[in-house]
């Protein structure tokens, strides 16, 4: 089996599972309890928080644990919107965000907020100029993803952060779910106020994530109750998940050449595919620069994503059509459409995404499988 759907989720690392098992067996106290068992669990949570904080080069108190990336994104955007609505009711985002940002924006629009969805170029990149031009006196938040989940395009977060630095009252949220623990991004350096991450994208457990929230930024909580996480996120801490997430971060740090090797494999993969198959389009930054090297997005006009996914599955290769969250719907990818792809092109995309455990052989075998499968399918539907 060749698993290449790592941007949907990754295989949990065995060491992460061991840590979580041990925590469930031994450190089962509630971190909010007064007694020693609770205090011990709390210390574990705080040690894990330091690991995440170190990764983001921030203070541990700036990290809030959430149930995952979706909650982190919801909390960031709705939390800011609710907190700052008296200052203005305008939000800026892009047309290629993950649904957990995009749909939140739609929901806020229904509640009377004005939302600017910035266009992207054919590589899926938003222009920092456009961000600055879209700012109004009413703008309270700009939310832009770091790495696009469908095509891997890296947004110019540093440049946008630099532009926004001139407007200290406007907050900047970055959905870094697809990049955290892979491509370095330090909120302080990049002028980011809020940043979402999720553990299961880098071999951590599902059901745990975090939101970086810069010191002195106030947001309204989504969940109220016991007042955990400084009141920003009530609910008993998911202690094993939190420990597992920290473990997963530490494990990624033990691998030093993840990006370089992905880039190398991606390049030879694309050379191979484009020389053997026609028609094929590479989505995203075709120069190979400014795109996360661990994500490959291809369109095979005339074929359907779903059919490709299943045909590859028969070959033992697991890939994705669009993002996992939207792949069940038979509509052309919103992201690819925003990048100027036709309906046909946008309906025929697949995403091949690597994890820390992906091998060179797997990528090569995936290419071979595509080269076997695609011409057959093309013959059936008479593309050529």
């Amino acid at each position: 089996m060749i698993y290449l759907d790592n941007s949907a989720t990754t295989k949990t690392h065995p060491d992460v599972i061991s840590v979580m098992t041990d925590v469930m067996n031994n450190i089962y106290g509630n971190p909010s309890s007064l007694h020693g068992l609770g205090v011990k669990a709390e210390r574990l949570v705080e040690q894990a928080r330091r690991v995440i904080a170190k990764k983001l080069d921030c203070h541990p108190s700036e990290i809030l644990f959430t149930s995952g990336g979706t909650e982190a994104n919801n909390l960031a955007i709705k939390g800011v919107a609710d907190q700052l609505q008296s200052r203005g009711r305008h939000l800026i985002t892009t047309s290629v965000e993950h649904p957990s940002v995009f749909e939140v924006m739609k929901q806020l629009e229904e509640k009377g907020w004005k939302v600017t969805y910035l266009p992207v170029d054919s590589w899926g990149r938003v222009s920092p100029d456009a961000v600055e031009k879209a700012l109004t006196d009413e703008t309270v938040l700009v939310s832009i993803m770091h790495v696009n989940n469908e095509v891997g395009t890296i947004q110019p977060i540093h440049e946008i952060g630099q532009r926004l630095a001139k407007y200290p009252k406007i907050l900047f949220h970055v959905d870094a779910v697809q990049s955290f623990a892979k491509i370095p991004l330090k909120p302080k350096q990049a002028g980011i106020d809020l940043l979402s991450v999720s553990a299961h994208k880098f071999h951590g457990p599902k059901g745990i994530g975090a939101l970086y929230i810069r010191k002195n930024v106030e947001i309204t909580p989504l969940l109220v109750g016991g007042g955990q996480e400084r009141g920003f996120r009530s609910g008993t801490h998911h202690v094993p998940g939190i420990a597992g997430m920290a473990k997963a971060v530490v494990l990624t740090e033990q691998q030093t050449n993840f990006l370089a090797r992905c880039q190398e494999w991606k390049e030879s993969f694309l050379d191979h595919i484009t020389s053997k198959l026609q028609p094929v389009l590479v989505n995203g930054d075709v120069t190979g620069e400014g795109t996360a090297p661990y994500i490959i997005s291809l369109s095979f006009p005339g074929l359907k994503s779903e059919v490709l996914v299943h045909a590859l599955e028969e070959e033992g290769v697991f890939v994705s059509s669009k993002s996992a969250c939207s792949s069940k719907l038979e509509t052309p990818s919103r992201v690819l459409k925003a990048m100027g792809r036709t309906d046909q092109e946008a309906l025929s995309s697949i995403r091949i995404s690597m994890g820390y455990d992906t091998t060179k052989e797997e990528i090569e075998q995936c290419a071979e499988a595509l080269i076997r499968v695609v011409p057959k399918l093309q013959q059936v539907v008479k593309v050529r």
Binding site: V19, D22, V23, L34, H35, G36, V39, E42, R43, L44, Q47, A48, R50, V51, S61, R125, I154, P156, H158, E159, Q162, K182, I183, P184, L185, K186, Q189, A243, A246, K247, V249, V250, T252, E253, Q255, T256, N257, F258, L259, A260, E289, G290
Partner: protein, 418 residues
């Protein structure tokens, strides 16, 4: 992958210029007060160097050098910003400046100066201040100022020269081996290097004041140990954890700190049982001082430090202090004695203890708090009441039962999972 500083950033930069990061080679250190210390200078410098080395341990390539009576941190490729963040926590440093080292040639110096100007944010005016230590260098200082300034004016737009109140002073030092170019002085903490003034014992509660008092004592170069009185089960595990956390924050400034956690339950119970309610605080504080003195002597500390601020609470009136202080001849340093609460809070926020101090766990001073504590307690009354207690045994048991926790600046991780 994690070592490289954002490999993707430069790739997607279109304008190029804004993303050029300046490479600093070394950091020039200033330590004014030490130079006043005459013959002790060498010892203080040695102490300062050791403290800086300790602080910069996580940067293996960094070297501290001394040359021409100046101290430098040689970065050897380490990033300057996080190193400077660490230097901002070292007492004894008055200021520092990251510097570029270039060969002693006009063109190289000009380029470095221009780079400095371009990379300094938010400046509209500048001046050049050149020093020519190497008199072999063919251009005299004044002319050098003009030629570097002219080069900057021609190549960095828009910027003006202001020789009186410049936003940025470009310092240039021409020496024989190399020349140094650096900008404005970044202020350090000042004070004296920790460890140069002997050892003290800080009475550390969970409140806002005592960590600040500890910090201010550290500023004057003391080596700090701390004492906390723990009245389990009246005070919780969390109250103790809070004090450990506070002491650990102080290690950022003070290096290793030994924390003594004194079992105080029996003493408090005994005081409560045998003494007038209005005197419980007075007697409790007298007991604390006696135990602190015993622990100080045991650990070769020369003075006690408290977070008392005159008149802030009942036990901090002059009358109270006099009655409480009477049990010891040891000097008691009270660094925040004249500060308002607001001033203390400002420092607490600066040094990062405030957030921890305001966590709502009871400490031994808030339990058994009498409704009407005596604001002018009488020494004789206190002594009479104490006669009902088995003082010697209580103190001895407390001292013997004290738990010692060694805290170091590196976060010691309790769990080995990650």
């Amino acid at each position: 992958m994690c070592g490289s500083a954002d490999p993707c950033r430069s790739k997607i930069t279109t304008s190029g210029e804004g993303a050029v990061k300046m490479e600093f080679h070394l950091i020039l250190l200033r330590y004014g007060e030490l130079s006043l210390k005459g013959k002790n200078k060498a010892e203080f410098e040695g102490r300062l160097i050791r403290n800086i080395q300790q602080k910069l341990k996580e940067f293996p390539n960094v070297r501290i050098t001394k040359e021409h009576g100046r101290m430098f941190v040689e970065l050897n490729g380490e990033p300057s910003a996080p190193v400077m963040d660490k230097l901002k926590e070292v007492f004894g440093l008055v200021g520092f400046s990251p510097a570029i080292r270039v060969e002693s040639k006009l063109e190289s110096i000009q380029k470095a100066a221009l780079q400095l100007v371009k990379n300094t944010n938010g400046i509209q005016t500048f001046k050049v201040n050149s020093k020519r230590a190497n008199k072999q260098f063919p251009i005299p200082s004044l002319e050098l100022n003009h030629r570097i300034g002219g080069y900057i004016l021609a190549n960095a737009q828009p910027i003006q020269v202001d020789v009186h109140h410049p936003d940025l002073t470009v310092h240039v030092e021409v020496r024989s081996k190399a020349s140094y170019v650096y900008g404005n002085d970044i202020p350090g903490l000042g004070g004296l290097p920790v460890g140069s003034s002997g050892r003290v014992m800080l009475l550390l509660s969970g409140g806002i004041d005592s960590p600040v008092a500890g910090y201010l004592a550290l500023k004057r170069g003391v080596e700090l140990q701390a004492i906390h009185f723990h009245s389990y089960p009246f005070t919780s595990e969390r109250a103790k954890q809070k004090v450990i956390d506070l002491a650990r924050i102080l290690t950022r400034f003070g290096g290793n700190i030994r924390l003594h956690v004194v079992p105080f339950t029996e003493i408090q119970t005994e005081i409560n049982k045998h003494c007038y309610e209005s005197y419980t605080i007075t007697i409790m504080r007298r007991m604390m001082l006696r135990i602190a003195e015993a622990l100080a002597k045991k650990n070769q500390a020369l003075a006690l430090v408290t977070g008392e601020s005159l008149g802030q609470v009942a036990s901090q009136t002059l009358e109270s202090m006099q009655t409480i202080n009477a049990v010891t001849h040891m000097p008691i340093l009270r660094p925040v004695i004249s500060m308002d609460k607001q001033e203390i809070m400002t420092i607490a926020k600066q040094i990062g203890t405030y957030e921890t101090s305001i966590l709502p766990y009871e400490d031994c001073c808030t339990i058994f708090l009498p409704k009407a504590p005596k604001t002018k307690p009488d020494q004789e009354v206190a002594e009479k009441l104490e006669a009902r207690l088995d003082l010697e045994r209580l103190i001895q048991e407390a001292v013997e039962g004290t738990e010692v926790i060694e805290l170091s600046a590196e976060e010691t991780d309790e769990f080995s999972y990650f």
